[in-house]
């Protein structure tokens, strides 16, 4: 897209951000409220020589982007609750075989079909724990349209840098909301783009799952002669199945550690008026916008309140929470998810201000919750 000012929804910004990041492959299945991402990709990808395919379901969609990613192309899909539930098995495959992919989940009211067009934040824990097993992924969650565009570049960078699925959270509000945003010149974006490491040794001398110092193995593409073998079974550095306790220990530990050890490089957190705060409201995505207004209102009343907004949801930015010996109020559109994470790391009191879904809290509601907690 040419540099300039645009008026886009979160969905369009996600699609355009992906293209700016170099994404050239999309496979997906329509689902509210993410379908506009597919529509935008269907229109735009072939214009830039990329490929779009509408698959028969979400399982096929994620399988297709994993297959595509092995060709060296940056690939993504987008979905919402019911679709992400279907994708979870293959998210595990991408984790185990270390395939860079980006998955957008535009969260809606849930469980089940829930409130397809209305906001929910109930998939935060699922983003981390959706597939079976003990693993780490990266998940980021913007709260406005500009940030959606900008963070999509980071999403692909993380996927490529760490060879990991990145779950890009949106919510129904952000997905469908139109806002102004500035698209920087592509040359500037390109300076920021990271591509996966390629093997430096020729085929025959390369063990395709041998990690570098940073615990991430370089990634060959199909057709380059590396005779890749990738399996969801526990495998050794050759990529061959090795169904032993030792191989499991070595592989699964590394898959987790390659993210955990780089958590500080990954974490992005917005802090607003936290320096002198006695109470910090912890909120993400669209909900954080209402909270910010509530914080301003509280400050006018002389209450020392701040906002902490995790942009990186996973790995959970716990050091930010630990930094302040204050009370936390976790305001989220679910019945307690990030709340449990904050409780794990906070030293003061932690309270939950939940919503079951369909709308974010109003600033007045948040303000009342703040007052209740301070009294």
């Amino acid at each position: 897209m040419n540099a300039g000012r645009y008026f886009w929804s979160g969905d369009i910004a996600a699609a355009e951000g992906a293209i700016a990041a170099g994404c050239r492959f999309y496979a997906g299945y329509p689902i509210t409220p993410s379908s506009e991402i597919a529509e935008r990709m269907a229109l735009r990808l072939p214009q830039v020589g990329g490929r779009f395919i509408e698959m028969e379901d979400e399982i096929g969609s994620i399988a297709a982007i994993i297959g595509a990613s092995w060709t060296g192309v940056k690939a993504m899909t987008a979905t919402a609750g019911p679709g992400i539930s279907l994708m979870n098995e293959n998210i595990g495959l991408a984790v185990m075989t270390e395939v860079p992919i980006v998955i957008v989940n535009a969260m809606r009211g849930a469980p089940s079909t829930g409130l397809p067009t209305l906001i929910g934040q109930g998939d935060i824990m699922q983003a981390k724990w959706g597939s079976h097993g003990s693993y780490e992924i990266i998940s980021i969650y913007p709260s406005n349209v500009q940030e959606t565009f900008d963070l999509m570049i980071d999403a692909f960078n993380y996927a490529e840098r760490y060879r990991v699925p990145v779950i890009f959270l949106l919510d129904a509000l952000l997905a469908h909301m139109y806002e102004k945003l500035d698209v920087p010149p592509q040359e500037e974006i390109d300076k920021r783009v990271i591509n996966r490491k390629k093997p430096t040794k020729p085929p025959g001398e390369t063990l395709i799952y041998q990690p570098d110092e940073d615990l991430v193995p370089p990634m060959p593409a199909v057709g380059e002669g590396y005779k890749i073998h990738a399996t969801g079974l526990t495998h050794n550095e050759k990529g061959h199945p090795e169904l032993t306790v030792d191989a499991q220990e070595k592989l699964v530990k590394r898959l987790n550690d390659k993210i955990r050890k780089h958590a500080r490089e990954i974490w992005k957190v917005e802090e607003y008026l936290t320096d002198d705060a006695k109470l910090i409201v912890f909120a993400a995505g669209s909900e954080a916008r209402a909270v910010r207004t509530a914080v301003d209102m509280a400050r006018k009343e002389g209450l020392k309140v701040g906002l902490m907004r995790p942009i990186t949801v996973w790995p959970f930015p716990h050091e930010y929470v630990e930094k302040y010996a204050v009370d936390y109020l976790v305001s989220e559109i679910n019945y307690g998810q990030m709340y449990h994470m904050v409780r794990e790391y906070a030293s003061g009191r932690v309270e939950l201000f939940p919503g079951m879904g369909g709308e974010i809290h109003t600033p007045q509601q948040v303000l009342r919750a703040i007052r209740r907690m301070i009294e």
């Binding site: 096929g60 297709a64 297959g67 060709t71 199909v222 005779k227 890749i228 399996t231 061959h240 199945p241």
Partner: protein, 278 residues
């Protein structure tokens, strides 16, 4: 070096020999099928670096682990959509899905149906052993009605897929069926299919003496192959009814469809890219 020896060495170079012995039971038909496939690849002179093999889960799903080309052992039922993504992103590669009947037609059935409909340029080698072997012998989507398995102790009430009929009805340009007894025909069929375009399906009726044969009075591999030999009839122009498989009944084999010139999904999309760039 004799020609036979030359072929043998070339076939061997297509195997990850350090991974042998394989996991399959002795007498299993999957190895025979894999051998036929590799020989066809050698004869077709396909550059191994231009070939990718994708498998799902199950006994046949292990095949990807033994071929010395870019090879992917994916999740249960998802070999086809994985292959679709790979092929669509790299249309110049040969992409072969090598998987079993339960994987392709039960859990993966929806992907088979839709990939065939879209006519992706993929060759599917579907090993049909009438059963879920890896999990110990439960009935599957191809188990003949009446057959005994661990989950059909009184005989199978279920009706099996007629795979060539299914493939043809979805517009697959190439559909064939052979048994592991038809070694040369199978190899020739794979060879031909490797030169065709579009969604090509070869069903290979394969013996699973360990968990299928044993419960259906064909305890050893030879008895099963004898059955294939005695009961199969080559009939390329078979009707859909004739292609149906019944318990211990006739097995009609042949190349039931071989047409050329149907545009593949990948070809049609090149046109989309041209239009979008205008």
């Amino acid at each position: 070096m004799s020609m036979m020896e030359d072929i043998r060495l070339k076939v061997e170079s297509l195997l990850r020999t350090e991974r042998l012995p394989h996991v399959w039971c002795s007498g299993c038909g999957i190895g025979i099928t894999l051998n036929a496939f590799l020989r066809a690849v050698v004869r077709a002179n396909i550059d191994p670096n231009q070939l990718a093999v994708v498998s799902g889960i199950g006994c046949t799903g292990r095949a990807a682990g033994y071929v010395n080309v870019d090879s992917f052992h994916t999740t249960h039922g998802r070999a086809i959509p994985f292959a679709v993504g790979l092929k669509f992103a790299r249309p110049d590669m040969h992409v072969v899905v090598f998987s079993g009947d339960g994987d392709l037609f039960a859990i993966g059935g929806n992907h088979f149906v839709n990939a065939a409909r879209r006519n992706h340029d993929i060759l599917v080698i579907a090993v049909n052993n009438f059963i879920y072997g890896m999990t110990g012998g439960q009935h599957g989507p191809t188990t003949p009605t009446g057959a005994f398995t661990t989950t059909t102790p009184y005989g199978n009430p279920d009706r099996p897929f007629n795979i060539p009929h299914l493939a043809i009805s979805l517009g697959a340009p190439y559909a064939a069926r052979w048994t592991t007894h038809h070694l040369m025909q199978l190899q020739n069929s794979i060879y031909t299919a490797l030169h065709r375009k579009g969604f090509r399906v070869i069903e290979v009726i394969s013996q699973c003496p360990t968990v299928y044969g044993r419960r259906n009075s064909m305890r050893d591999p030879l008895t099963m192959m004898e059955y294939f030999k005695k009961n199969s009839i080559i009939k390329h122009d078979a009707t859909f009814e004739e292609m149906e498989l019944t318990y211990n009944g006739k097995i009609v084999v042949g190349v039931f469809r071989d047409v050329q010139g149907i545009p593949t999904y990948e070809e049609r999309y090149e046109d989309i890219i041209r239009r979008a760039k205008k």
